[in-house]
């Protein structure tokens, strides 16, 4: 099984010493498969033991995290298995250019996650109140319809639709503010909007390691400016979300 592909360069002794005594999933020894200046970090594992449960996932993440402190690496998705060292070398050779490009992209960088939560009912009330104050007609959208059941249903749907629009506009404004404030960090970012009713933003950032403290400070300021929201910053992570390629 392959844990990660890393840029070992000429630091093979360092890599070897780091892996001495390190155990992976199910207590398996960790080994290295070299190809030129890159290496695959692997272990032999009985496939029967390869279950995607929580303890295995954490053991897997632990190996990658330890290595990431010392080397630029590309995490490989859990459960990636190849038959032999020869097959791994063939894979490294065939994908050498893609691997090198991705390693270059994440060199000396950390990934961070930012999740932003709201209290759904409170936010709904705030946004709706603001909207109603701006447009009084919105409180009685379908009064021309005589049938009361149908009118109520239409009004309910219209209100829901209006709230969704308000929420998207609000979330976009928060994202815009975050992007503006993080501009100075030159971070690569990815945003997902309205993941659940309470998680309105799920973002990941890739930025230079030395800018970590500035990120924490900036997110702290953003939190202070958005009292009704809860900002949860996680990291630093190995660059799981920024290795966008499929090995052939």
């Amino acid at each position: 099984m392959i844990y990660s592909i890393l840029s070992s360069g000429e630091r093979t002794e360092k890599l070897n010493s780091l892996l001495v005594g390190m155990k992976g999933i199910a207590g398996a020894d960790i080994n290295i498969v070299f190809f030129e200046n890159i290496s695959a970090i692997v272990c032999d594992i009985n496939r029967i033991k390869l279950v995607a449960d929580q303890s295995n996932a954490i053991a897997y993440a632990g190996v990658i995290e330890t290595l990431a402190h010392h080397f630029t690496l590309l995490p490989v998705r859990f459960g990636s298995v190849m038959e032999s060292d020869a097959a791994i070398i063939h894979m490294l050779k065939k994908n050498y250019n893609d691997i090198q490009q991705n390693l270059l992209k994440v060199e000396n960088k950390y990934e961070f996650g930012l999740k932003i939560f709201c209290e759904p009912e409170k936010l709904k009330a705030e946004l709706t109140a603001k909207s109603d104050a701006n447009a009084k007609t919105s409180t009685s959208p379908a009064t021309e319809i005589n049938n009361s059941v149908y009118r109520d249903w239409v009004n309910k749907k219209l209100k829901e639709h209006r709230f969704e629009e308000l929420l998207v506009t609000y979330v976009d404004s928060v994202i815009s503010k975050i992007k503006g404030d993080l501009d100075q960090l030159k971070a690569i970012n990815k945003f997902k909007k309205i993941v659940t009713t309470s998680m309105i933003i799920d973002a990941v950032f890739l930025l230079d390691k030395e800018r970590k403290d500035l990120l924490v400070e900036t997110v702290g300021e953003l939190q202070n400016q958005h009292a009704g929201l809860t900002f949860v910053l996680t990291g630093p992570w190995p660059p799981y979300n920024f290795v966008d390629f499929t090995v052939k």
Binding site: A52, A57, P75, R77, V81, V216, W237, T246
Partner: protein, 69 residues
């Protein structure tokens, strides 16, 4: 009490973040993935996460954002 709620949720978030990354992200090897999926217990809290929660509490007290992991 609100802080306790935040900390509890942060534990879950951290473990979910680990699982999401390990199982869903990273380099993909085509055609050779052999895993089976077991039930994932989201209330698990490892030693590392317990330590992290203490740090989280300190950060909340000091007025800084929550930094997990």
């Amino acid at each position: 009490m609100m802080h306790d709620h935040v900390i509890d949720r942060s534990k879950d978030i951290t473990i979910l973040e680990v699982l999401d990354r390990v199982l869903n992200k990273g380099v993909i090897l085509t055609g050779d993935i052999v895993i089976s999926v077991a039930d994932i217990d989201l209330v698990y809290v490892g030693v590392k996460l317990m330590l992290s929660s203490v740090e989280t509490m300190e950060q909340i007290r000091s007025g800084n954002p929550i930094v997990e992991k």
